[in-house]
């Protein structure tokens, strides 16, 4: 599978906030059709990687290339690449002043200059796929968190991105809404979409990942298939991390 074409490469990135290093000499390649899941403790720089891939975060060293083309600070190149890289945020970030349908149609019409009618048709089709076609004329405020997040995914999909970035998309959701969102992402994986996912949902990560990256303190501590990482973690840090999701049975004294 490593012979597949490389889509995004993050090359020797160093990122600092003031004096604190967030990422230190970090590199990652994402190949076509691959689902990469990044896990790790809070504050380890997971989300920063996604933001860097989308050019939302300036870096001190290193570069991001997209199908071999360098993403530099220049506006033209960055917006062209962002068209091809879809991103879904933890806090949904739907546009509150636009209806659901308008949210989905905005970028394809405005940025890709596609035909309005054709975009609308596709938008409706995608919305019905996630079970939200009857909400098309509602405003984001009227939707639940899970519904909003599904719209956000549709909004990204409607741009026909070559890679999708998911930044802790269920972290702000009520527990009973997590599944409805993850199901959508799982079905995208089955279709063979290329994705980079940052998540705290370990069961989901294990189910969806082709490759798991365990990030700790700004560098890759361990990397492997889902099976390898979750069943046979090698490093101490990874074992500790995975243990933090389980609890010992209380024994009454």
């Amino acid at each position: 599978m490593s012979k597949k074409e490389e889509i995004v490469r993050v090359d020797h990135i160093t990122k600092r906030y003031e004096e604190n290093a967030i990422l230190e000499d970090f590199s990652l390649s994402v190949y076509e059709g691959e689902v990469v899941v990044i896990v790790g403790p809070s504050g380890c720089g997971k989300s920063t990687i996604l933001r860097i891939m989308n050019g939302l975060e300036p870096v001190q060293k290193g570069e991001v290339t997209y199908r071999g083309e360098k993403v530099d600070g220049k506006l033209g190149s960055i917006t062209r690449i962002r068209e091809k890289v879809g991103m879904v945020f933890q806090s949904y970030e739907l546009f509150p002043h636009k209806t659901i349908l308008q949210n989905v149609m905005l970028a394809p019409v405005l940025v890709q200059k596609r035909d309005k009618k054709e975009v609308k048709e596709e938008a409706l089709q995608l919305l019905s796929r996630v079970g939200l076609s009857e909400k098309k004329d509602n405003y984001p405020r009227q939707l639940s968190g899970g519904q909003k997040q599904r719209v956000a995914i549709v909004r990204a999909l409607c741009m026909h991105p070559e890679v999708l970035l998911f930044d802790e998309v269920t972290a702000a959701l009520d527990p009973e809404m997590v599944r409805e969102v993850l199901e959508v992402i799982l079905s995208l994986a089955k279709e063979g979409k290329t994705m980079v996912i940052v998540t705290h949902e370990m069961a989901f990560a294990e189910a969806i990942a082709d490759r798991v990256i365990f990030l700790d303190a700004g560098h890759i501590e361990e990397e492997g298939t889902a099976e390898e990482f979750f069943r046979h973690p090698k490093s101490e840090r990874a074992k500790q991390f995975l243990n933090s999701f389980t609890y010992d049975k209380v024994v009454h004294e």
Partner: protein
């Protein structure tokens, strides 16, 4: 109350109101323009200009319009800048209002979270598309209540125009009281005409606020 007196005064008041409205709306229109430009300069922290804009805002927000008008009208001609009364009224109101509008618009712009911008950019919108389609509409609906309050405040502030000998409603009332001592009638007309100017603005403002809240919350 003498209705004959009232009806004979009506045309005089009507004319005075038109003057108040003409200068008032002209001033407010320019206040919006100035406020908009200054807010953009402040929001994007344009070097140097932003500093100057800050001084302008603080100065005009912390001095009374009446004194500003006195300075513009009586002091500027002394350094060779000729001023006429109507122009001074509109200019004073525009400068005062510009400072207030700038703060209103800027806080509207700042209320749009940074991540909304990022979300738009991640969809491939460029800077101007993001500003036009995402930031401005949201900033606008947040600014509306303060904007309406500013417009009402500025229209009320026009009541000092008579100090630079503009024949507005206050001037008319004072003049007629002094001439004929029909105080009650003069004051009733004064209240009536200011209500005529301001109540529609207040009602329309409320409507507008409800409208944008509807758009924002969708319920």
């Amino acid at each position: 109350m003498n209705w004959e007196v009232i009806s004979s005064y009506l045309p005089l008041y009507w004319k005075a109101m038109l003057l108040t409205l003409r200068i008032g709306w002209l001033g407010i229109l320019f206040a919006i323009l100035i406020g908009f430009l200054v807010a953009i300069v402040r929001f994007y922290k344009v070097p140097v200009v932003s500093r100057i804009a800050g001084v302008y805002i603080e100065f005009f927000r912390n001095t009374p319009l009446l004194v500003q008008l006195f300075f513009l009208y009586f002091a500027l001609p002394k350094i060779g800048i000729p001023m006429n009364a109507e122009f001074t009224g509109a200019l004073g109101l525009a400068l005062l209002g510009g400072a207030y509008m700038a703060e209103t618009f800027r806080s509207g712009l700042e209320s749009v979270a940074k991540i909304q911008t990022e979300s738009a950019m991640s969809l491939g919108l460029n800077k101007s598309q993001t500003v036009l389609h995402i930031i401005f509409p949201q900033a606008f609906s947040v600014s509306v209540p303060a904007f309406v309050a500013n417009v009402i405040f500025l229209l009320k502030e026009t009541s000092v125009f008579s100090a630079i000998s503009l024949m507005d409603l206050m001037f008319r009332a004072k003049d007629l009281i002094g001439l004929y001592y029909k105080t009650t009638e003069c004051l009733v007309l004064l209240v009536f005409f200011y209500a005529l100017i301001l109540i529609p603005v207040s009602v329309l403002g409320d409507r507008l606020e409800r409208r944008v809240r509807h758009a924002e919350f969708g319920d």
